[in-house]
């Protein structure tokens, strides 16, 4: 009989202890999803912290699909639920940018698209931009030369 009580007591202690352990257990469920991450910056490197972000879906550029704020690194992530061109507006104190992100979801992959590098790459390859830059440099050189070579009356 004593043995039976002892077994019951140990069992109760075990059960109690186990329940406490269960109460403190943390759990993370990991799902791999296609996500879009943007990084909003002032200039080339300073993050736009806590800037407002408005995300518009491909089929409706008037109704916001999601709103939020960037983090301390100026980053904002969202998981698009359809393919297409998503519009993202970032704004802080009147400054900001509106950009478009092409989304093509691929299952079994986490596709993080950063718009900023794409945009920068696009800007560098813009022929209009290059042409204006070359003309500006030429104009500046000629203007400076004329200014310093003119005869003072």
């Amino acid at each position: 009989m004593k043995f039976l009580f002892w077994i019951t007591g140990v069992g109760l202690l075990w059960a109690t202890g186990e329940s406490q352990v269960l109460a403190h257990r943390s759990q993370i469920t990991v799902n791999s999803l296609n996500a879009v991450e943007i990084t909003a910056l002032y200039g080339a490197s300073q993050p736009m912290q806590q800037a407002q972000v408005v995300v518009y879906p491909p089929d409706d550029s008037e109704t916001p699909w999601q709103t939020g704020q960037t983090d301390a690194q100026g980053k904002y992530r969202f998981i698009p639920d359809q393919d297409g061109i998503w519009e993202i507006k970032v704004r802080q104190a009147g400054h900001g940018v509106i950009t478009h992100v092409p989304v093509e979801r691929e299952p079994e992959t986490i596709a993080i698209m950063t718009e900023q590098p794409q945009e920068i790459e696009h800007q560098h390859s813009n022929p209009l931009r290059q042409g204006v830059m070359i003309l500006s440099v030429l104009w500046g050189c000629i203007g400076t030369a004329c200014f310093f070579s003119r005869k003072s009356n």
Partner: protein, 215 residues
């Protein structure tokens, strides 16, 4: 202090172009009344380049970042040439660095250009005084910092009046308040810088300045 494309309604953007067009016409008329209208063009080109580059120099002021505008300095040195110079500078910034935008070019030109003309008018009040005189120094400081503050007021006013419903008004107002403090500090920096540059030019190459006659 550039309003990017997509943040203003077409009505305001076209209104900005109309206002800038009218002001450009007025400035060009005043320029045409000078003895040799083209004489100041190289100087205007140099100042346009300075204005263009100044906007790329960012001063971190967390959580914001400010950049030099120098529209007061441009107004003082260029007079009525300042507005065309600012328009060209803004155009280049928009095309080359997507700073601002072509759609809002007219509005941005008004934001920067009107205070530049104010700066020119301010220093003309002390036209008989040399830049090294304390009275003219104070006027120059007021012109330099006042032009920046004027631009900031126009910018903040437009930013507040064009808030769309999907944005959190409280957050934007909070950000604009912090930005306002930054602009206040920037105004002091630009005011001091303007005084230093004007005095330097007066000592080194005084013919660059048009302080002794109005055009």
């Amino acid at each position: 202090m550039h309003i990017p494309d997509g943040f203003l309604s077409p009505t305001i953007a076209f209104g900005g172009y109309a206002g800038t067009g009218g002001l450009l016409w007025f400035c060009c008329r005043r320029i045409n009344k000078t003895h040799i209208p083209t004489a100041q063009l190289p100087k205007a080109a140099l100042l346009t380049a300075a204005f263009f580059v100044a906007s790329l120099i960012h001063i971190p002021l967390p959580p914001l970042s400010i950049h030099l505008v120098l529209n007061g300095l441009m107004g003082i040195i260029l007079g009525y040439y300042a507005l065309p110079a600012i328009v060209v500078g803004l155009f280049l910034q928009a095309v080359m660095f997507f700073h601002g935008g072509l759609f809002n070019l007219g509005v941005n030109a008004l934001i920067m250009g009107l205070p530049a003309l104010f700066a020119y008018g301010t220093v003309q009040l002390g036209v008989s005084l040399p830049p090294t005189h304390w009275g003219q120094r104070i006027l120059t400081f007021i012109a330099g910092s006042g032009a920046l503050l004027g631009s900031a007021l126009l910018f903040v006013g437009l930013a507040l009046s064009t808030l769309t419903p999907e944005l959190n008004v409280g957050l934007e107002q909070q950000a604009l308040t912090i930005a306002g403090l930054g602009y206040g500090l920037q105004a002091v920096i630009e005011g001091v810088l303007t005084v230093i540059v004007i005095e330097f030019l007066y000592r080194v190459r005084p013919e660059i300045l048009n302080l002794h006659r109005s055009i």
